[in-house]
């Protein structure tokens, strides 16, 4: 059993007590709500006559089902099911006194983008949401995890959840990231090395020089994909980078109160003599930009590295690799470089933040999207969109031939009308390359960093972004 880690401390601070079934009851500091997993829980509360006890610790936004073309966002939405979910959320939040950043708000966006940028997510909090990518918020040194629909109901009804404590694995990433190498590459490497179910039963504590050098947006991308590595949650200890990011944000206290709050943040950092259940080390010095060749995020290689032959993989991975390669149509022994792409997609709760678009813009600036490539830039939130537009970044994308959209999950899971068609191959900054994920059962997704997506868009094929001038990196 771990002791002295941030996870242990945050757990203890939020533990209300033990339940008769043996689980712990934990107070939830921040509950994020979206339209897909909240309607039934609210409906059940209403029927049972239960009022939400801590409405101010709940915040809602609409992200999964929203159209990202501005002309598609007029109400009622064309898709009746989507309109129904949105209407239900409007009514439910209004009746419960919960803040809702809806389509009429300039703060609307993907829950995991909105909460960090508003300063809602803070170190030492427990954060939950009916969405598996809630782990994202661990980047601030919060304990954040996705929950199921009945737990959403539990939180609305009591501001607590019944939970079992997991083990803690320290993932120590040493070294320095080179140009054109980003946090997305780090997490793809971690998932490749530890396996897509390597994290089952664990919470990941990411640390080490390569992690500490990352800015907050980079850290968010790492924690975001904890779930793809099998870990329900992942976190990074808060430090000056965290505190400076938080200063001045809407939900963060100012002045004296900020300093007081910071004392708490400091106090929940993992102790120097903390004990972990497991420790793994990863060297990021020679890390290349990563790309996936298969149908799960662990099936990844460096862009200059050959795709493995199934026979060369551990026995329990061979069948999956064969099936994946049959689906994606890649040839083992070759690198992923040069495979044509039909679609380029930049956005999502992994890589839909300001710096992601800036890095990508540096690649596309003065260049053109290759003929026949459909390229989409979908900011993770309206705040992100506005910031980029203020600097003219939207024009860089549009001039290059990208479609510049409104905020939402978009082609990450194609619950709106952004979707792959047929067996289109997509260079994507999202987090899941599962079969069918982007809306077409034959669609083929290649996960990579936003800068790599931008490079693929202008090249019309998977390519090494390090060959482009003006590439940043190391974040």
């Amino acid at each position: 059993m771990s002791s002295g880690t941030l996870y242990d401390k945050v757990w203890d601070r939020h533990k209300v007590g033990e339940l008769p079934n043996g689980q712990d009851q934990l107070f939830v500091g921040l509950h994020l709500i979206h339209e897909v997993t909240s309607p039934q829980p609210f409906s059940e509360l209403r029927e049972r006559g239960i009022e939400v006890p801590y409405p101010e610790r709940n915040v809602a936004t609409v992200d999964h089902i929203v159209p990202t073309r501005s002309e598609g966002r007029d109400r009622p939405l064309e898709d009746e099911a989507a309109e129904g979910m949105l209407t239900a959320l409007e009514r439910n939040t209004a009746e419960s006194g919960i803040t809702f950043y809806g389509l009429d708000s300039d703060k609307q966006g993907i829950a995991h983008v909105v909460a960090p940028e508003l300063g809602l997510t803070q170190p030492g909090m427990t954060v939950v949401c009916g969405d598996s990518h809630t782990a994202t918020h661990g980047a601030f040194g919060a304990f954040a995890m996705g929950i199921g629909t009945s737990q959403v109901r539990d939180v609305l009804a009591s501001q607590t959840i019944a939970a079992d404590k997991a083990d803690v694995r320290r993932v120590e990433v040493s070294g320095t990231l080179g140009d054109g190498v980003y946090s997305k590459d780090v997490i793809l490497k971690i998932i490749r090395d530890l396996g897509v179910d390597g994290g089952v039963g664990y919470v990941y504590e990411y640390g080490g020089s390569a992690i500490e050098q990352l800015d907050m947006e980079g850290r968010l991308a790492v924690c975001n994909m904890s779930i793809e590595g099998g870990a329900r949650a992942g976190y990074i200890n808060p430090d000056e980078t965290t505190y400076e990011f938080l200063r001045g944000r809407e939900y963060v206290p100012e002045g004296e109160a900020f300093e007081e709050r910071k004392e708490y943040w400091e106090s929940i950092r993992t102790d120097p003599d903390a004990e972990y259940d497991d420790v793994v080390e990863i060297d990021a010095d020679d890390l290349e930009p990563m790309v996936t060749w298969g149908t799960n995020p662990g099936q990844a290689v460096g862009v200059g590295e050959p795709v493995p032959a199934p026979a060369d993989l551990p026995e329990d991975e061979r069948d999956a690799a064969r099936n994946a390669q049959a689906h994606t149509g890649v040839t083992p022994g070759e690198t992923m470089e040069g495979y044509d792409v039909d679609v380029a997609f930049i956005g999502t709760c992994t890589n839909g933040r300001v710096s992601d678009f800036r890095e990508a813009a540096a690649v596309v600036e003065g260049r053109q999207v290759a003929d026949g490539v459909r390229a989409l830039a979908v900011p993770g939130s309206m705040t992100v969109k506005e910031k980029l537009e203020a600097d003219g970044v939207d024009e860089i994308f549009e001039d290059a031939g990208f479609e510049w959209r409104e905020a939402g999950c978009s082609m990450c899971l194609a619950m709106n009308d952004d979707s792959l068609h047929g067996d289109e191959r997509c260079a994507s900054s999202s987090n899941r390359n599962y079969i069918g994920r982007q809306g077409s059962k034959d669609g083929r997704t290649i996960l990579m960093s936003p800068a790599m997506v931008a490079a693929a868009a202008v090249e019309g094929a998977v390519t090494d972004v390090r060959d482009f001038d003006g590439v940043g990196g190391g974040r």
Partner: protein, 202 residues
Amino acid sequence: MSGNDDMKVNRVTGTGVPLRGDDIDTDQIIPARFLKSTTWEGLDEYAFYDARRDEEGNLNDHPFNEYRGANILVVNENFGCGSSREHAPRALRRWGVEAIVGESFAEIFADNCKSLGMPAAVADADVVESLQDFVEADPSAGIELDVENERLVYDGEEVDVDIDESMRQALVKGIWDTVALLRSNMDAIDETAASLPYVDER
């Protein structure tokens, strides 16, 4: 802390609704097209929606039409198999089912029943058959399911049934409903909240 007394399910008494057939899956219990709804409301009308109707869409003689008001559902083998949709036991519950007796249940379905406080009791095939006959012969005849002692009483007889131990414990202790369970600690919740530096005083 102990469970809430109101939540304890020690016994269920009432009348039966016999539903014959093995492998009745959750898609029959509630067809997928009704899952799009954003509330649980109205689910009772969707329980066995297709099976309850003839080709013209009129109600037929399905037990869920004929035995309105009954509360103990009597089924055969592998009831509730298929998709894990929580809507299935909820639809039954809303129709009026308070307990299910059957030859066997799909695991996830049984789990979902537990979280609704609805016992799923396993009985031998001949017991189920005789119970179904008994209910059909006299729909108003009383049945009692003793959850605590895992016994079923009908037709002047007492027979053994089997209820999964964790389900039985949760029911008799009244701790199956996590909402009630969690809310029973509201004072402790407020105390924990007040001790957190980031939660405003209220």
